[in-house]
Symmetry: C2
Subunit: 301 residues, 2 copies
Amino acid sequence: MTATIIDPSAVATEFRNSLRKEIAALPTPLRLLGLISGQSGPAHTYAEYTRRGCEEVGVSFELKNVARLEAEASVAAANADPNVHGVLIYYPVFGTEQDQYLRDSVDPGKDIEGLHSFWSRCLYENRRFIDAAQTKKAILPCTPLAILKLLEAAQVFDPSAPRPLEGRRVCIFNRSEVVGRPLASMLANDGAEVVSFDIDGPLSFSPGAGRAAHTVHETNIDRQAALAQADIVVTGVPSRSFERIAARELRPGAVCVNFSTFANFESDVRETARVFVPRVGPMTVTMALRNTLRLYQNGRG
Amino acid sequence: MTATIIDPSAVATEFRNSLRKEIAALPTPLRLLGLISGQSGPAHTYAEYTRRGCEEVGVSFELKNVARLEAEASVAAANADPNVHGVLIYYPVFGTEQDQYLRDSVDPGKDIEGLHSFWSRCLYENRRFIDAAQTKKAILPCTPLAILKLLEAAQVFDPSAPRPLEGRRVCIFNRSEVVGRPLASMLANDGAEVVSFDIDGPLSFSPGAGRAAHTVHETNIDRQAALAQADIVVTGVPSRSFERIAARELRPGAVCVNFSTFANFESDVRETARVFVPRVGPMTVTMALRNTLRLYQNGRG
């Protein structure tokens, strides 16, 4: 077997084409504000990707370079400005816990990254709408949502099923508050049995009964056992010292996704996996744009 | 000069005596729930201090040992229980960013530690009441509040003045989100000029105009210059490798407070300082009890 390689740019293009049409039909031009601190680094690359994504879908994008101590006031001004529809902060700003404070200072109604604790709570509690009439969808965090859409593109599940990931086993290496934990929760809320590893060890995320939120449990499963049974393997380990996942560890036919900037898989996985997604980036930006549209629609509802 | 040594237990006793009377006069017995995960460590010591503090002031205290994965559900149950007046979580629970999520899951109306982002925002914006009628005081975080009360005991300012710390220069070594940053903000809101050091360098916190919140600025001041001008020096560096502050660095007559479990001052500071406060712990617990009473009063207002 030789794995199909999914290029996230190609999947992103389909989403962007569809977004462009929807955005062009809006009565108001959408406008995003990006806040960045410092002169170089990966944050600038991500901002450049955002600019291109915005151009492609017809959203106007302003990137403002701010001193770290000005960031909070800039967020407050953007929150209050009816002509700003979404705010993106490029981290690190302080590079300390204060960045989390900053993240929660964005109005959830403009938080197109879906990282505000308001949205985290919706996700963890499996609340999919923010209004009783169920017309306003909750926002999902960009990178986990991007990964879900890439798994959909890999045809590993039927998105129209009530619990699309029912019966799927997933193994995730990363349990950060911005990607790994929300991703494990999302997939378990959709029916998957997930083993989530971080530096402290594994936890298992299991589907709840019916529409109930997933539950989380301690587990002693090790990497080998978790990988051997996984239909889907997602990695996001930001370290060269991580022992890359090799073909011999995988269940034949597994779908593998890496969202780390480091290679977390050995190149031989392409011989054992059915699908390999080497990076996620372009889809993350696209999902932020999709969230912009959704938040705009929620605000008008 | 030989410094006066302030024992925080003695100051705490005065507060506890007064709290005991106020609490005894309440129509309802106050009840605290402590949540702790794991079998030993400093968290257990802090919980034991809480138990003693509660006994002294007549508050009932239940310490519940929970698995880390049960903590969130226990918080939710305590939030919903009208017979629980305050919730204390003994960290670490997860030992990751998830602890911050947990911290924000406590109902602000029961967050006697004053660590919820709701209270942080009040403090950073210098909003001292949570209602328009100004009958419900905002809660301040325990350790910064404990330090302020110890400085008051050191008679370094007049607490009845409109801006009690006007003209005072302060130097703080620690800018964590739970102590150093809120402390610098509180003192600047009260009129002090503060230089705050952390591992990344200094920032200055200055009083705002009138009742406006403090402002924060970049600064190039170094340790020597900041210490030489400081009327008040507060340390909270949790590391043996920190170069302890020596007498020769201090302005004669300075008031020195250490809240770290490590000694951050050389012993010779007792010859140069006017007041030395070697630890803060008993006052932290006492301020949590004071916050319990205040939150109860806010709830009845």
